[in-house]
């Protein structure tokens, strides 16, 4: 192609500039005058479409890619593809919890996950744990759940904190049993425990022996928020982030430990502590922006992962209501430290 670009005429440029201006105004108006008939997801989609439109107009006409050499388009596309790739990978690496919980909410159906034991013969005498009364299973869900796209970008927004009580319909109800002695325990589908292979003892979620808690959500919350510091294997980093593996059962079994754990999550912790013989003096952020159900789920997740559950004589999952109750106390992280110091730890 020759370099004597005809280019577009001034008239065409002016037209495109006008369109760009109008689109910008529409974008502004959508946000400023809150269009009632557009829900959040559609608003975001509209905004994305409009700005992609602007993007393409500028690239095609102002940067002349439309009539210029394909090679330029090629190079630029490679850059865009890498940028988008990085972007998507980052989103999945770091917000997998919010992304997947959106999908999960739309697809999840009540699944009966089977409890299993590596030694089924030992699991015969069912240790009866306190079942969760059905009326307590109501959990607090934020209205955000009906706004999937918004949630992808946005997990906890001060603006949207209107809460409504809803009875969870499609939450995975996990039921399992704990064998008497030694308390071998494994959750189907968790780390290396295949769902099918183990001869499972099926316990219906409705029976008294069943414990209901959402292990799937707990795992997602953990990998999305905690694993960065406490590590995927729960070992923490000596001197910087205390381990949750082995450490948590000790805390849980101390008098008041259960409440302490809920408070650590809600209000954070700061100050000198000792865990498994190592001292720490860091900052554990408060996670008040997580939902009560998410906090309960992640605590149950960490209490039952990494063989922690084998160190517990008895385990009753933390309930959503306990978190809700603790939320009203409004402690400071210093008070949480006092709570910890008051624990009678071995």
């Amino acid at each position: 192609m020759s370099h004597d670009h005809k280019g577009s005429s001034v008239g065409a440029y002016t037209f495109i500039a006008l369109v760009l201006g109008v689109i910008t105004y529409i974008e502004f108006a959508i946000i400023q005058y809150e269009v009632a008939w557009l829900n959040a997801a559609w608003t975001i989609i509209t905004l994305v479409v409009l700005s992609v439109g602007k993007f393409i107009l500028v690239v095609a006409f102002f940067m002349h890619l439309k009539d210029d050499e394909q090679t330029y388009t090629g190079f630029f596309s490679i850059g865009m593809v890498f940028a988008l790739g990085t972007f998507i990978v980052l989103a999945f690496l770091f917000s997998i919890r919010s992304v997947s919980s959106v999908w999960a909410r739309s697809e999840r159906t009540p699944v009966e996950v089977q409890a299993s034991s590596e030694h089924p013969e030992e699991a015969k005498p069912h240790h009866e744990l306190h079942g969760i009364p059905e009326h307590l299973q109501a959990s607090i869900e934020s209205e955000g759940y009906s706004r999937p796209l918004a949630e992808i970008f946005d997990t906890a927004r001060p603006k949207n904190q209107a809460l409504s009580i809803a009875v969870p319909v499609a939450r995975t109800t996990q039921s399992f049993t704990v064998s008497e002695a030694p308390p071998l325990f494994a959750l189907a589908g968790q780390d290396g425990v295949p769902v099918e292979e183990t001869p499972a003892i099926e316990v219906s979620a409705q029976t008294e022996t069943a414990q209901g808690f959402d292990t799937e959500l707990g795992g997602q919350v953990y990998s999305g928020n905690c694993a960065g510091c406490h590590q995927v294997n729960g070992q923490g980093i000596p001197g910087a982030f205390p381990p949750l593996a082995q450490n948590l059962p000790i805390l849980y079994q101390a008098d008041g430990g259960r409440e302490y754990l809920v408070n650590v999550l809600l209000y954070g912790l700061q100050g000198p502590i000792e865990a498994l013989g190592q001292s720490y003096n860091g900052i554990m952020p408060a996670w008040a922006q997580l939902g009560d159900d998410e906090i309960a789920a992640v605590l149950n997740h960490v209490l039952t992962s990494w063989d922690n559950v084998t160190l517990l004589d008895e385990f009753a999952p933390i309930l959503v209501e306990e978190v809700a109750t603790a939320r009203s106390t409004n402690l400071s992280s210093a008070q949480v430290l006092e709570l910890r110091n008051a624990l009678d730890l071995p």
Binding site: H3, H5, G7, S8, V10, Y13, T14, I16, A17, L20, G21, T24, Y25, E27, F28, I30, I31, Q32, A40, T43, I44, L47, V48, L50, S51, K54, F55, V58, V59, F61, F62, M63, E69, T71, Y72, F75, F76, I78, G79, M80, F82, A83, L84, T86, F87, L90, A91, L93, F94, S95, A150, F153, D154, A156, R157, P158, K159, P285, A286, Q289
Partner: protein, 200 residues
């Protein structure tokens, strides 16, 4: 080696017939895409993870940013007009539009300086929270790009007074223009993703 051979030497190594400056600019822009892609990605990763305010909804100002976005878009428009004028050897127009681009770019920067200083007054600094860190890094990097663009346009404007310019120089203006438009499209993305979506 004869003089002729020296002059022709570069030709032997060419694999495309594309003008070097332009090709280089497109390759640079491709890499800059990744740069901004990562910065925007980082912003989103840390979105809503600030433990203390000010939060985006507290400080971001949609009307003002809409105006500054519009100014930047129109500077892109002036850019194509400047290029068109230079290609048609209309030097006075070319100078006028080139000045216009630099001027509109400076207005945009003025808005940004105003925005940043307002934010700092409201307590949002680079170190305040994750929002501050990622927001200032992203928009600051963009602002530096705009600043470089403004200086570039001014240097072209000055050059046009130092030595005569004609349609033969259009390639250099075109390359500067590519850079300018790119900075503009990055802002299109930032405006939507960081500003507008926050208020959905």
């Amino acid at each position: 080696m004869s003089q002729a051979a020296v002059e022709h030497a570069p030709e032997h190594y060419r694999s495309t017939s594309l003008p070097d400056p332009k090709l280089m600019m497109w390759i640079f822009l491709a890499s800059d895409c990744m740069f901004f892609g990562t910065l925007i990605g980082t912003y989103l990763v840390y979105k809503n993870r600030s433990l203390e305010g000010p939060f985006p909804v507290d400080v971001l100002d949609i009307p003002i940013t809409t105006v500054s976005s519009f100014v930047l878009l129109m500077s892109s428009f002036l850019m194509v007009l400047a290029l068109h004028a230079l290609r048609t050897d209309n030097i006075p127009r070319f100078r006028l539009w080139t000045f216009g681009v630099a001027f509109f770019g400076s207005v945009f920067l003025g808005f940004q300086v105003f925005e940043f200083s307002t934010f700092v007054k409201e307590g949002l600094t680079l170190q305040q929270n994750l929002f501050g860190t990622t927001f200032f890094t992203l928009t600051g990097t963009h602002g530096i790009h705009v600043t470089i663009g403004v200086l570039w346009m001014l240097s072209i404007l000055i050059t046009s007074y130092v030595r005569p310019m004609s349609s033969k120089d259009a390639l250099y203006l075109e390359v500067a223009g590519l850079y300018w438009h790119f900075v503009d499209i990055v802002w299109i993305v930032i405006f939507t993703v960081i500003y507008l979506v926050e208020f959905v």
